[in-house]
């Protein structure tokens, strides 16, 4: 009985992605066929070459969209992992005035989403001169509270003895963080990397469209939307693009899954 439920939900979850994969390899006559087949019969790579031609024909070169997507995702993720971990260490392992207050603000911030702040952030961005630059997407992502929360919870389980040993050796707090703590929390970085990367990889759509107007600063998924607007005839290339886009975060997750689960086991919230 339970397995029936599982199979049904599994089908519901997997079906659309299988549809993407199958359509990405369908030749044009199979895409236009009625009634349409769910699975591809004669797989072909024409959609990928068509995609390449379509994109190289647009006045903003395809490589530019690709660069923008990678730049936002990598700069934002790297900054987030470093800066959030650096802040997580004192919160997890040291006592200082203001610690409890700072952490409860972080927990509170998990209870509302970025949509609440986007109007006022638009004003802040315009004062800071971030509008129409990649920084408008990158900088807020660096200060994402979910990453700090998960990192702090994970760091709490580091034995104090490890830190004391380094302290006796005369290491500064930063040295302890960098040389002792960071190597131990590797699973947590991988988790922060996947969450941050996944958010930023698709961010061109949501946050990007709000703060970035220049064509040459937009990301792949904006370009994807443009292709899809071409209607049924563009289905093939747009599914090819969707497939390429979703492979990257899925690949990162496959490689880091056990670390992510290990990190999430400390994610609980005490009341």
């Amino acid at each position: 009985m339970l397995f029936l439920v599982l199979a049904a939900v599994g089908y519901f979850m997997a079906m659309p992605l299988v549809f993407v994969i199958s359509n990405a390899f369908k030749p044009i006559n199979e895409i236009l066929k009625f009634p349409p087949d769910f699975l591809v019969k004669h797989p072909t790579l024409t959609n990928f070459t068509d995609l390449y031609h379509l994109l190289s024909g647009s006045w903003v070169p395809f490589t530019r969209y690709l660069f923008n997507t990678f730049f936002i995702a990598i700069a934002g993720t790297a900054g987030h992992v470093l800066i959030a971990s650096m802040a997580a260490y004192p919160l997890a392992k040291r006592k200082f005035p203001g610690r409890a207050m700072l952490f409860s603000v972080v927990v509170l911030s998990l209870m509302f989403s970025a949509t609440v702040t986007q109007i006022t952030n638009y004003m802040t961005m315009s004062w800071l001169g971030f509008l129409d630059t990649h920084w408008a997407v990158i900088v807020p992502a660096i200060g994402s509270s979910l990453g700090l929360y998960l990192m702090k919870q994970f760091m709490e389980q580091i034995p104090d003895a490890l830190l004391e040993a380094a302290q006796i050796d005369g290491c500064s707090e930063f040295r302890i963080f960098w040389n002792v703590v960071m190597p131990v929390v590797r699973p947590a970085w991988l988790t922060l990397i996947i969450f941050s990367f996944q958010g930023l990889w698709g961010a061109g759509g949501a946050a990007g469209s709000m703060y970035i107007y220049s064509e040459q600063l937009k990301t792949i998924d904006y370009a994807l939307g443009q292709i899809l607007a071409g209607g049924i005839i563009r289905t093939g290339p747009s599914m090819a693009a969707t497939l390429l886009l979703l492979t990257v975060p899925i690949l990162i997750f496959v490689l880091s899954q056990s670390s992510v689960i290990q990190t999430m086991s400390t994610s609980g919230m005490k009341d």
Partner: protein, 317 residues
């Protein structure tokens, strides 16, 4: 943080609070290196997360168009929202329906699925985790649903129904008000096995197995009792975390709605508080009004989180 403490310590020597503050100030000075490590993150966090909430509360009482200086208007924006703005009331109704359906359903689904696959052998469990988590991971791939629900006979769902003679002509799925809401809910559920799902899998895996043996001795007879009296209570911190993530997500529906049903959607059938917010904030630039909408949304998210936390504290009692 620091200036606040500084101001307080200026009053040293007066009242019983003073020695405490002086000691705190000394501690704070000793922790300089720690504050330096906290600074970069909290500077960004306060600028883009905490400050906006406070600012938006303030701006919501003004009339502000980004060009002229804001004018204080008191409660007018809120009064207009709830009394005059019919579209907002539609958005409010839709958002509450989304939240009431996708929130609980996705939360329970996250837990039940995690619970079922927990007993699988590791390889199979990893595979099942990937299958369920993949949609949440795949970001903008949800636009594939626009093809599935496409209004011509090439739409897969229309074609399927036509083939089996369940319908006679293609249905305009994303242009018919009565279908828009359910379709957005379906897609939103498809995307919702995310962070909480992973947290539940992790929580179930790291459970202390001795608890089950102890439970068997104490007279736990079946799996359901085991679930209610042992598994759920020991998962409580994880359940809290999952609830926070799921609730927050269920109120923020917008991207899927605009991508599927268009913006604005037919008869506002897919209009939510967030799309209403975008309409006034980034199209009409009525920042005061938009801030009032944001503040209402903030209060709804925070309020339901706090209520659910209360309820979860009762699990397994």
């Amino acid at each position: 943080m620091i200036p606040l403490v500084k101001k307080a310590s200026a009053g040293t020597g007066r009242g019983p609070l003073a020695p405490l503050l002086a000691r705190k100030w000394k501690e704070a000075k000793r922790s300089k290196a720690l504050y330096a490590m906290l600074a970069p993150f909290f500077l960004i966090f306060f600028t883009f997360t905490v400050l906006p909430v406070c600012l938006s509360l303030l701006v919501s009482f003004t009339d502000f168009n980004m060009l002229e200086f804001p004018q204080w208007v008191g409660w007018r924006n809120y009064a207009q929202l709830f009394v005059r703005d019919d579209v907002f009331l539609i958005a409010l109704k839709n958002t509450l329906i989304f939240a009431a359906v996708t929130g609980p359903v996705s939360y329970v689904a996250c837990f039940v699925l995690a619970w079922i696959i927990n007993e699988f052998p590791p390889k199979l469990r990893a595979f099942a985790t990937l299958v369920f988590y993949a949609p949440a991971l795949s970001g903008s791939a949800f636009i594939v649903w626009t093809l599935l629900f496409s209004s011509d006979s090439y739409g897969y769902i229309n074609a399927f129904l036509l083939k089996w003679h369940l319908i006679l002509e293609p249905i305009l799925w994303l242009k018919t008000p009565k279908y828009i809401l359910p379709i957005i809910i379906i897609v939103q559920l498809w995307l919702s096995l995310g962070t909480s799902f992973l947290a539940f899998i992790a929580g179930l895996q790291s459970m202390d197995k001795n608890l089950f043996e102890a439970g068997a001795i104490d007279g736990i007879r079946n799996r359901w009792q085991e679930l209610w009296f042992i598994t759920l209570p020991s998962m409580r911190p994880m359940l809290m975390f999952g609830a926070v993530i799921q609730i927050t997500a269920s109120f923020g529906v917008a991207e899927v709605a605009t991508a599927l049903a268009g913006f604005p959607s037919v008869k506002y059938a897919g209009h939510t508080i967030v799309t209403h917010l975008m309409d006034y904030g980034s199209i009409r630039f009525e920042m005061g009004y938009a801030s009032a909408i944001a503040t209402v949304l903030f209060a709804m998210m925070l309020g339901s989180n706090l209520i659910v936390r209360r309820l979860l504290a009762k699990v397994g009692e």
